[in-house]
Structures are given as C-alpha cells and as structure tokens.
Amino acid sequence: MTTAVPTPRVRSLADRARRCGPWLAVAPFLIVMVIGLVLPVLALAAGAFEGDAIKSSFSSGYRTAFWGSVKLSVVCAVLGAVAGVLVARAVLSGGALLRRLVLTASGVLANFGGVPLAFMFIATIGNAGIVTSLLHDWTGFDLGDSPFSLYQFGGLAVVYLYFLVPLMVIVIAPALDGVRAEWSEAAQNLGATRAQYWRHVGGPLLAPPIAAGALLLFCGSLSAFATAQAMVGGTVPLVTLQIANALSGNVSPDNAGVGAALAIEMIILVAVVMAAYWTIERRTARWLR
C-alpha cells in the first residue's frame, strides 16, 4: 500500500471505497441520528400505542393543553415575525456598528431560555419586580392592578417574544440583505410607486422567508417548556407541561404511555409545520442567492 503502483486488487478496493465513500463518511452522523432520534421516536411510538394511551391523550384536559400550545405558538410566531422583520430592517439600514451590535446580541438572546429567563422576568415585572415597584413609586401606576399579568397567557407570550424576536432578526437579516437596492431603483425607473414596489416586488420576494421564519418561531414556542413550568405551572394549559407531568411527575405513576402519545402527536404537528417550512424554504432559495 505504500507503493503508488496500482495493482488491480487495490484498484477494485479503491473503486469500492469511492462508491461507498460518501456513505462511510456520513456513517457517524447517521448512527448518531439513529441512536439519538430514530430509536427514541420508535420507542415513543411503541409506548404511545400501548394500552389506550392514544385515546386518553385526546381527553378534554389534554385537548385543552394542545389547543393552548397552538394558540400561544401562533400568537408568538406572528408577533415575533412582525417585530423581528421591523427590527431587522431598521438595523440593516443603520450603520455597520449598530448592525454588528444588534446581530451579535440577537445571537445571544435567541439562545436565552429556561428557568433563568423566567426568573429574570419575575424579578423585573413580577408582582415584586424592580420595574413594577419603580413604576409604582414614580408614577403611582400599579402593574398588579392592571389587566396585564406576567402569570397569564399574555405574560408568557411576552417572555417568549424576548427570545423569539432576536431569533427572527437572525433568520431574516440575510433575506433582507438579499433584496438589492437595484430592484427598487429599477421599479422606480419604470414608474412604480413605493407601495407598488412593495406590493409587486419586495413583498412577494420576502413573503417566503418571513413565513419560514414565522414557522420556525412557531416550533420554537411550541417546544419551549422550562420557562413556562417555572412561571405559570399548570395554570396556562400547554402540551409540553402535560408531557413532563406524565413522564416525570411526582404525583401520578404509570402515566408514561400518555406522555409518549402526546409527544408523538407533537412530533406529527411539528413534522407538518416543518414540511410547510421546507416547501417555502425551497421557493426562497430560488430567488435569494
């Protein structure tokens, strides 16, 4: 093997290697995928179809939780996408420093979550939060008496948006960058108004990436869990909380089947959303290179 003279045998081996090469190279990845994703999903499915887990996972309490999760995710996705696009557009039209600052900060904030995030909001705008008490001292306005409460649906949405908006900024910035100034100039030269440009050129171009970003936010808030657990417990119905209760609760034993069934149903929901995301993503890729 140290000589460079190719004997027929080596050549055939090399040929085989060349054919198998790509497969061998991704083998570690595939194995990890099988161990880390495929097998657990199969195990979940097996658990879900044991007994009448699927049936009980459709009982009214769990249905409410599913509906609550979807509602929260849709609200967060829409608000997050709109806010994210506006922020990203403002930032990109600013100077290089602003742009670098915001994009870097977004990278950090988009990964903020869990109990620390919940505690941060509790400590700032909770009933005894710093901002709450400063507001009260300075203006006499009592957040506790206002319709807004951190511990309800709206509060949870605000907390989620704290990491979803930065995520949207990161996702949408390249797409906004891809919209060339020449296009708007060309439209202008042809006599288009600003509104017409956005309606016929900018809008259709950006709609797919914005929708794709919104779908990503949808999945992000659908799967969030620890923050809600620490902040609202079971008082805002969420399917992730129900899964956690079923799988590792201190209260009801032998409930793993229902947890598995709920998880499978979530996987199906996310798969549908991801399929939509993927379709949109392909349309986007055609335009923005």
Binding site: P6, I35, G144, G233
Partner: protein, 386 residues
C-alpha cells in the same frame, strides 16, 4: 489519491465503531455483578440477622465502599447532613445522583440503569410510587432492626417499602414583608394577600403542591374522598388575584415574589434556616383548618449494585441517630411517637417543630390519594385557566 480515499474510509469506520461502542457501553455491568457477588448474599438478606448481625452488615457495606442515592436534595429534610454523617461514620462514599429528581425519575433510573454500577441503591419515594414499584417487583424486601417501631399501616408487611419521614402542609410567610402572617386557609382569601400566595410547583406534577390542594380541600368542606373543594379554593384564589402560579423556591422567596408559600412544614422550616442568613424572617404555621400530613417511603432497589451498603443505609436512617437527623430537618420521622415516649427523640428539636393543632391527624389511604389525583389531573388546568 487512491490511498487517501481508503484512509478516509477507514477513519470513518473507526469513528462509527467508536460511536457505537460509546453508546452501548455506558457502564460496566461486570463490575456491578462482581460487587453483588462479593457482598456475600447481602442482595437477598431481608434483615441484618440474615448476614450475621449488624457488625457483619457494616463490614460487608464497608467492603463495597460506595452507596448510590438518588433524588435527595441536600436542603430537603436535612439530607445533606444525613448523607455526610453516614459517609463519615462508615467510610462509605455516597454518590448522590439527580438530587432534584422526582419519584418517577427514581423509578425510571432503577429500570433503565439496571445492572450498571451507577444504578440507584436506595429510593425515597412518594407513596403511590412505592406501591406501584412494589407491585412491579422493583424492591428488595428488608426489615430494619427497629422494624417493630413502625406502625403496621405505615409499612409493607413483607418489607418492600416503609414510611420514613413525613410532615404537614404549612403556610410559610415572610414576616418582614407581610404585616400579619396568615394562619389558616380561610385567611389566605383576604384581599391584603393579593398576588402573594404561591404553591411549591404544579400540583399535577409536584407532590408537595398536590398535598397543598388536598389540605385546602380539607379546609373548605372537602375530605379524603373529595378534593374538588381544594381545586375550587385555588380557582377562587387565582380569580381574586391572591394566588400566583409561580413555582415557589428560596430564590423567589428571597426576591419577594412569593412572600407566602404553601409547602411541607419541613421544607418551609428548612427555608427558615437557609433564609435567616439573608435577613429574611420566614415564619411557618400549620393551618388549623386544613391539617394534611403524609409520609415518604424508603425502599431498596432489587438490583442495587451495593446491596450491603443499601441495607446499612436503611439501618442508619431508622436508628435513633438517623431519625433525629430527620427531626433536625424539621421532618417527622416515622419512629417519632415511639421515640418521644421512650425519650430518645431530641427534646430541643422536638420543641422546634411547627405546632400542629390536632393530636390525631389521619393519613389518606393510597386509594383515596389515587382517586384524588385523577380528579386533580382532569380538573386543575381547566379550573385555573383564565
């Protein structure tokens, strides 16, 4: 070029083999099996006598040298000191896994780590999990030397599980932030407590919070067979704005977000100690209108990698020393009534326990608890949403 491709292929194969090996060989079961063999039948011993007395058990446990415990927070019922004392006394290293885990996590660990040397040896479980675990044959029956002191309704006749320590639902209160600390569930409804009352978690998940709802039921016309008034109680408390669904922790108490927290009395009493260093005066009262007590259960895993140490741990916990250590954590150990009569309970610690306004608090039966859980799981989120 040819060589390169072959080499790259080899690397990939080696890598993937390594991945498989790493995934499959998470622990050495051989070592665990050896430990069991060396313990001279400890794995099947149902009492210290089976091994030739306590001294022989100590020797066997020392030979094993290690004990795996799970789901024991150091600030829970004085477990930190209990673990340290046991470890120092017998020279046995205690490996504490997943201290904040739940009962279900413990059962999962027994099943999934079976045969590995890091599997849990001993368990501290909620009643329902002890019963279902015993039914599934996960526990090794064992009777400690002080077995006779444990009342019959607080242990499994064969020794698969036994109550270890318990307490009552209490109302903890930051006396510096709250002018008048509430003493009863009825008082918690007052407007002055708006936005201040919390539970230790979600009652459909956390045992202590579940007990809080049960206690509220007792206070509002419900009973062991009827938890619904407790759910209604918290729904009304949420509506009036008094109840906030934040999971109360020492951090939220310190921050002032949960100045009133419904929790086991031994946990609240533990917070008193922990928070006094930070200048917080945390008062604990067992509400006279909702006296609800319950116990946790000890059990030895049938597949314990350190069977002798596991049994010695139980002997230690149920000795006067172990029981007094729990008492020091403001928990009420199962032998407390006997030890109070015989004078072996530490009088200072006994006097420091939160006062309970009844001499004869009943325990709910496992069936009653199960039925209540079903009602709670179905009704809690629905009643509290809004």
């Amino acid at each position: 070029m040819t060589r390169n491709i072959v080499r790259r292929g080899t690397v990939a194969v080696v890598l993937s083999v390594a991945v498989v090996a790493a995934a499959a060989g998470c622990g050495s079961s051989q070592k665990a099996a050896d430990a069991q063999n060396n313990s001279g039948g400890a794995a099947s011993a149902t009492s210290a006598q089976d091994l030739g007395g306590l001294d022989a058990l100590v020797a066997a446990a020392k030979a094993e040298g290690q004990l795996n415990v799970i789901a024991l927070p150091r600030d829970w019922a004085n477990y930190g000191e209990i673990i340290d004392t046991f470890s120092k006394k017998y020279g046995i290293k205690v490996n504490s896994d997943n201290p904040d885990g739940s009962s279900q996590d413990e059962i999962n660990a027994v099943k999934s780590l079976k045969g590995q040397d890091r599997a849990p040896d001993v368990l501290d479980l909620g009643g329902a999990f002890a019963l279902s675990g015993a039914k599934d044959g996960l526990f090794a029956p064992y009777k400690v030397l002080t077995w006779a002191d444990i009342p019959d309704n607080q242990k499994d006749a064969s020794g698969a599980w036994y109550h270890d320590y318990g307490g009552y639902i209490s109302i903890g209160c930051d006396a510096k932030k709250i002018a008048v600390c509430p003493q009863t569930f009825a008082e918690l409804k007052k407007p002055e407590y708006k936005g201040k009352v919390a539970l230790n978690g979600d009652p459909t998940k956390a045992g202590a919070a579940f007990a809080g709802v049960f206690a509220a039921a007792l206070a509002s016309g419900g009973g062991f067979t009827n938890i619904q008034p407790g759910i209604d109680y918290f729904a009304a408390l949420k509506k009036s704005g008094n109840f906030i669904p934040v999971e109360s922790t020492p951090a939220t108490i310190e921050k002032g977000e949960t100045p009133i927290s419904i929790d086991w009395d031994y946990l609240n009493a533990g917070y008193t100690k922990e928070l006094s260093a930070k200048g917080i005066d945390w008062k604990v009262a067992v509400p006279s209108d909702g006296v609800y007590g319950n116990f946790y259960c000890q059990a030895i895993s049938k597949t314990a990698p350190h069977p002798a140490a596991a049994r010695l741990w139980q002997e230690f916990l149920f000795s006067d020393e172990g029981q007094n250590l729990w008492l020091k954590g403001a928990a009420r150990p199962v032998r407390l009534p006997k030890m109070t009569t015989s004078g072996t309970a530490d009088a200072t610690l006994l006097a420091a326990l939160p006062k309970v306004d009844t001499t004869d608090a009943q325990l709910p039966s496992p069936d009653q608890v199960d039925a209540a859980k079903k009602v709670l799981t179905d009704g809690w989120t629905k009643a509290l949403t809004g």
